[in-house]
């Protein structure tokens, strides 16, 4: 059996209550083949850091709740396949509540 390829992941972290500014956590050696970006987040959450805040609900590509930005583009993390190098950030133009959890009802002007 061939060795399983592993991904390098950089995840945006920010708790506006505590942190002066956002920062990134980096993880190496994350299984990603045949997995979605959401699967990767759940893996990081469970194996590395349970304080990671992120959302999901239907796991079926419908509800839009797991929206986030992967390598600069908004995607639904429950259906976007994970990649070998990933920068995971909150969805574009949404107010951050904590980490990847955003206020989905509120749109923020671009650039803020």
């Amino acid at each position: 059996m061939s060795e399983q390829a592993l991904a390098k992941v950089k995840i945006y972290r920010y708790n506006p209550k505590v942190d002066r500014e956002p920062y990134y956590d980096e993880y190496d050696g994350i299984p990603f083949e045949g997995r979605t970006v959401l699967d990767v987040l759940k893996y990081v959450y469970e194996k590395h850091d349970t304080s990671l805040a992120f959302r999901y609900s239907c796991r079926g590509g419908l509800c839009n709740v797991c929206l986030l930005m992967l390598n600069g583009k908004n995607v639904m993390s429950c259906k976007k396949l994970a990649e070998k190098e990933m920068i995971i950030e909150p969805a574009k133009n949404k107010k951050v509540i904590k980490d990847l959890m955003v206020d989905l009802s509120e749109k923020v002007e671009a650039g803020v």
């Binding site: 708790n15 209550k17 304080s51 609900s57 239907c58 079926g60 590509g61 419908l62 396949l81 989905l104």
Partner: protein, 577 residues
């Protein structure tokens, strides 16, 4: 110091914001109640209403004028194998047409014919064509209509990321509820005269063998039990036969199931044996949903499954061009709802895929009467969280219409009740005691992690309380779940930050899930026959002499009591059909 930072006051608190809850809030508002519509996640993006692809059964009789609510009633009673509450079923079928017109007036669309009548389709279990639908995205229309209508009503306050955790009962009457504001991590006291539980099923008990959203962890079932309400028919969980189990990216994808019944898909176990010949040698893979599910589960549980816990579903024996032509028709580019099989490494032209049954709909739930009353004053329940319409098995298309009927009834009755009552004041001692229990996992510095408890429970549910049951296994499962529930009182959450603490939320969900899982296992153990979704290998026959009863569950202290209640054959007796 008090653990409660925030207090809010309302007339009606609706727990669960989707198909049932939103409809309840609209009706409560129609009757002048100040209403809170609470969602553990996001309004319009939680639960399962949105995910419903197709059928919503209503006896309009547009396609066949012989159809009417009484015929729909009969099909529903028979589909539920006579365990349904016939009074509820009559209320349901009689009110369904008007409730669907309400929904249309809120902005939901349905496929119509040229004369303006509904397009109605015949579904299994129904004798007349009565499924209305909008393309293959009917649930989305429910969301659209209900969100529009709630948005038009300023007196409905929507609370998102608001996890309602426990009910406050004062001398048999609701006085309020406790919730966790997930964004701030504060516990909130909601003073309210009436609570409507509308959080749907509890399929997460079987995850990863579930095709539902992650929200359905049995929170309301557990709250109701703790408040002294009764649950029933918990032994009946409906499974969808063929959902993918591998790769993880495609777990729970069920549309692939049509390869079996429309494209000649064959089912094999790990030894390459077409195992259906042991279960239904005549119909083989085209046997009924419940038989196919049961056969697949048997193969998997008895160790003849695939590497990732499924069985093989194969269309690769067909020419590539046949498979391609079929795919082009129903999932162009091997892609559906944004899930691309080829990109995920699955080529059905060459390889078989791994599939297993997925928990899909919970027939069991909170006992209610035709006013959505639970027996506790001020506490109401509606929709999939309740039992009574579907008995031992739900026929297709009944879920979407049921939630509109009982959502509306609950909203009206709760609003009227709240309007007539002097609010009782929550007992401070009770509040502080419950808050302390909710905070305990966060404040504890050592203890068990919820991950293991949750995963063990889900594995037990699938292997021992799933599709294939027997007394010995159920005994063991119930004992194991009792032990997990005991351990769950010592859960320690590692992340101590209050804001957006997923670990704390999931720990509390796990406590709820474990209580319901045990109640389900004990109910399945109690029913010594096979009926509907409940299959006992040790009692493989239906037994109408002894088991035309509902199995009911209540909580006394920490102990679950399982008993039976007679079924009233108000309108139709088993011997009449």
């Amino acid at each position: 110091m008090s653990n409660i930072v925030t207090q809010i006051e309302t007339d009606v608190l609706v727990v669960g914001s989707e198909g049932t809850g939103a409809r309840a809030a609209i009706e409560a508002d129609n009757y002048g109640a100040r209403t809170i519509l609470a969602s553990k996640g996001i309004f319009g993006g939680s639960g399962v209403t949105l995910m419903a692809p197709y059928s919503c059964c209503v006896a309009f009789g547009h396609e066949d004028p012989r159809d009417n609510p009484r015929e729909h009633e009969k099909d529903t009673i028979m589909g539920g194998q006579f365990l349904g509450n016939q009074r509820l079923i009559r209320v349901y079928t009689e009110n369904a047409p008007q409730r669907m017109l309400d929904l249309e007036s809120y902005g939901a669309r349905f496929n119509k014919k040229e004369d303006g009548k509904f397009e109605q389709v015949l579904m299994p279990g129904h004798r007349f064509p009565r499924a209305i639908h909008y393309k293959f995205a009917t649930g989305k229309q429910f969301r659209k209509g209900l969100m529009n209508e709630v948005g038009r009503r300023p007196n409905i306050k929507v609370y998102e990321d608001f996890f309602v955790l426990d009910l406050l009962v004062e001398s048999g009457k609701i006085s309020g509820a406790l919730a966790l504001d997930l964004r701030t991590g504060e516990l909130v006291l909601v003073k309210t005269g009436a609570v409507i539980l509308a959080t749907g099923g509890a399929m997460e008990m079987f995850y990863p063998r579930s095709d539902a959203s992650c929200d359905l962890t049995g929170d309301s079932h557990a709250m109701a039990l703790r408040a002294g309400a009764q649950l029933r028919d918990l032994e009946f969980m409906q499974f969808f036969p063929t959902g993918m189990v591998h790769p993880p990216a495609l777990n729970g994808v069920i549309w692939i199931g049509q390869l079996r019944y429309k494209c000649g898909g064959l089912l094999y176990n790990r030894y390459g044996e077409r195992f259906m010949k042991k279960y239904d040698p005549v119909n083989m893979e085209l046997s009924t949903r419940d038989l196919v599910s049961r056969a697949m589960a048997t193969e998997i549980i008895e160790g003849r499954g695939t590497p990732h816990g499924g069985v093989w579903l194969d269309v690769s024996y067909l020419g590539d061009n046949i498979v391609e032509a079929y795919a082009a028709e129903v999932f162009p580019n091997f892609s559906f709802r944004g899930y691309n099989l080829l990109e995920a490494g699955v080529d059905i032209r060459k390889d078989a895929i791994e599939v297993a049954p997925m928990a899909h709909f919970y027939m069991g739930g909170i006992t209610i009467n035709e006013f959505c009353e639970t027996g506790i004053e001020g506490l109401y329940a509606a929709g999939e969280v309740t039992a009574g319409i579907n008995g031992a098995n739900r026929i297709e298309g009944n879920a979407l219409s049921e939630i509109q009927v009982f959502g509306a009834i609950a909203g009206q009755v709760a609003a009227q009740y709240a309007g007539q009552q002097a609010k009782s004041e929550p007992n401070r001692e009770q509040v502080e005691e419950k808050c302390a229990a909710l905070l305990a996992p966060l404040e504890r510095n050592e203890g068990v992690s919820y991950f293991g408890l949750r995963r063990q429970a889900q594995e037990i549910m699938w292997t021992q309380v799933g599709l294939v049951r027997d007394g010995e296994k159920l005994e063991k499962a119930a004992a194991a779940l009792t032990s997990l529930r005991e351990q769950s009182s010592r859960i320690c959450v590692r992340n101590k930050t209050r804001e957006c603490n997923r670990e704390w939320m999931e720990a509390l969900e796990t406590q709820n899930m474990l209580l319901l899982a045990e109640a389900m296992a004990r109910s399945a153990l109690y029913r010594k026959e096979t009926r509907g979704a409940h299959y006992r290998r040790d009692y493989p026959e239906k037994n109408n002499d002894q088991w035309l009863v509902n199995v009911v569950a209540t909580l006394e202290g920490e102990k679950l009591n399982i008993n039976q209640a007679p079924v009233e054959f108000t309108y139709l007796k088993p011997e009449e059909v």
